[in-house]
Amino acid sequence: MRSLFPVLAVLAAIVALWYGAAVRMNSQWTYDQAARAGVEVSLGAVVADTLSQERPVLPAPHQVAKGLWDGLFGQKVTSKRSLVYHGWVTLSATLLGFAIGTVMGIALAVGIVHNRAMDMSVMPWAIASQTIPILAIAPMIIVVMNSLGLQGLVPKAIISAYLSFFPVVVGMVKGLRSPDAMQLDLLKTYNAQPREVLTKLRLPASMPYLFASLKVGVAASLVGAIVGELPTGAVAGLGARLLSGSYYGQTVQIWAALFAAAIVAAGLVMIIGVIERAMLKRMGLVR
């Protein structure tokens, strides 16, 4: 209960600020309309109007909530207007991309830790890859993949993997290197082979680092999948929903899609958190 109060207080403050901003930003349109019609409007009427416009600059919270509710529960899930349908399209690309990114990230990290040449050569490229704006490279990936005959899910998953492998590489390199000299010496006294050092010491020691990276990586994956939907003029997915919303000035639709994406991201991070706790508990790392 005590922890609930500050959370609710902050939430209330945000909602209040949001309403204030909505009234202020949307009032211009109301005044313009009134001026064009040649009528005076009272302050109360202005406020009422700004919170119920069709295409407001900033939709009020209750409008977004209604849009979200309609999108999630107001239609059949197979409908093109259902956020569940679009969410699933994006989620499937996210999950595939996240899986590719995670496997690639772990593989690269293992290589970096075991091979000096890889250590010196791969890391700078991995860092450089993240300095390129994903928005710039996404269309090229789509075009190149298209010429290879790949459309839809896979190109989006590649872009998603492109964003999510990086935190996994960084976290896993740190995790795989976390055993100290003494623990490595110990295995040396057993004449352990590199494979055993990896499986018995380095991998278990890196688990806490892996999960921290996965949480960052899965959120990045979702961003990647959404960005992958933007330049293709995709007809399905949360990205497509954002894009068509901005074409037609459907701000409520944009905000509803944004919140849907946020809910998906929060859900994914929570699932990883649950797996993390179960796993670390099994490993005796949670006291």
């Binding site: 003494m182 623990q183 010496d185 110990l186 295995l187 040396k188 006294t189 057993y190 004449n191 352990a192 055993e196 018995k200 010491l201 278990p204 020691a205 688990m207 490993m283 005796g284 790392l285 006291r287």
Partner: protein, 265 residues
């Protein structure tokens, strides 16, 4: 010296030197070290920090490689001895893997060395009993006290039954009461298993209480200044530390340490 005619020495160092190349120039960690360790000996290495006692123990374990002289372990090159799993090594910290139970930790060398599952189980039981930790196999390391963790790490070193046990200040981080008890237990263990033990310490009473042979070392360059054969009986209750012989040996060790420091000033 014992009768060396029949059995070959377990550890033999002749003119051993080890120099680390550092950015500030070479550091002579060991210089002209000559030492013979016989089977069943309990050898303590004592000296101030930087005297090379740990380096020497690590050289025996083939964790460091000498730059001069010869060193044999069980008549072999130390690397070959390591591959033949000639020794168990106990580090200063217990270094148990936090994600493995106590039994799991002791099983670690057995898994790597390819013992069968049944053999692993019976050996874990055996060494747990040896270090008085029966019933703690299913606990995780953090559930045990520091002294118990160090006992578990000794059990881990004993699990594959190597002839030599190398211990690098194993009780350095423990308080004196726990330390006394563990010293007693190590002696019992040594009597029961008849292993050859190399033991690094910076505590004079610990060295005198435990050893059949005390190697006094001094720093810069790391070298041996005195080797004392202890006349104490093999059976040693704790109160032997008040006996005349004990005090005499302790005195000689202290003299040796002081002499080593003397020619530095």
């Amino acid at each position: 010296m014992k009768d060396t005619a029949v059995s070959s020495p377990v550890v033999e160092a002749k003119g051993l030197g080890l120099t680390f190349e550092t950015n500030d120039g070479p550091v002579h960690a060991l210089k002209d070290v000559n030492l013979t360790v016989e089977k069943g000996d309990f050898v303590s290495f004592i000296g101030p920090s930087g005297c090379g006692k740990t380096t020497f123990l690590r050289a025996i374990a083939a964790l460091e490689h000498p730059t001069e002289g010869t060193l044999t372990v069980n008549g072999m090159d130390p690397d070959a001895a390591r591959r033949a799993r000639a020794y168990g090594y106990v580090f200063q910290a217990a270094g148990l893997y936090p994600w493995r139970t106590i039994a799991g930790n002791i099983r670690l060398p057995l898994e790597i060395m390819g013992f069968s599952k049944a053999e692993q189980v019976s050996r874990v039981e055996k060494v747990l009993a040896l270090v008085d930790l029966e019933g703690f196999g299913k606990k995780f390391p953090w559930q045990l006290s520091g002294g118990m963790q160090q006992r578990a790490s000794i059990a881990r070193a004993l699990a594959f039954d190597a002839d030599i046990l190398l211990m690098d200040e194993p009780f350095g981080a423990l308080d004196e009461i726990v330390r006394d008890r563990l010293n007693e237990e190590v002696l019992k263990l040594w009597a029961r298993t008849e292993k050859t033990i190399g033991f690094v310490t910076h505590s004079i009473p610990e060295a005198v209480y435990l050893s059949t042979k005390i190697v006094v070392m001094s720093p810069r360059p790391g070298r041996i200044t005195d080797v004392i054969e202890s006349p104490l009986p093999k059976e040693r209750p704790l109160d032997i530390r008040d006996s005349k012989e004990f005090i005499e040996i302790a005195h000689r060790v202290r003299e040796g340490l002081r002499a080593g420091h003397g020619d530095e000033v």
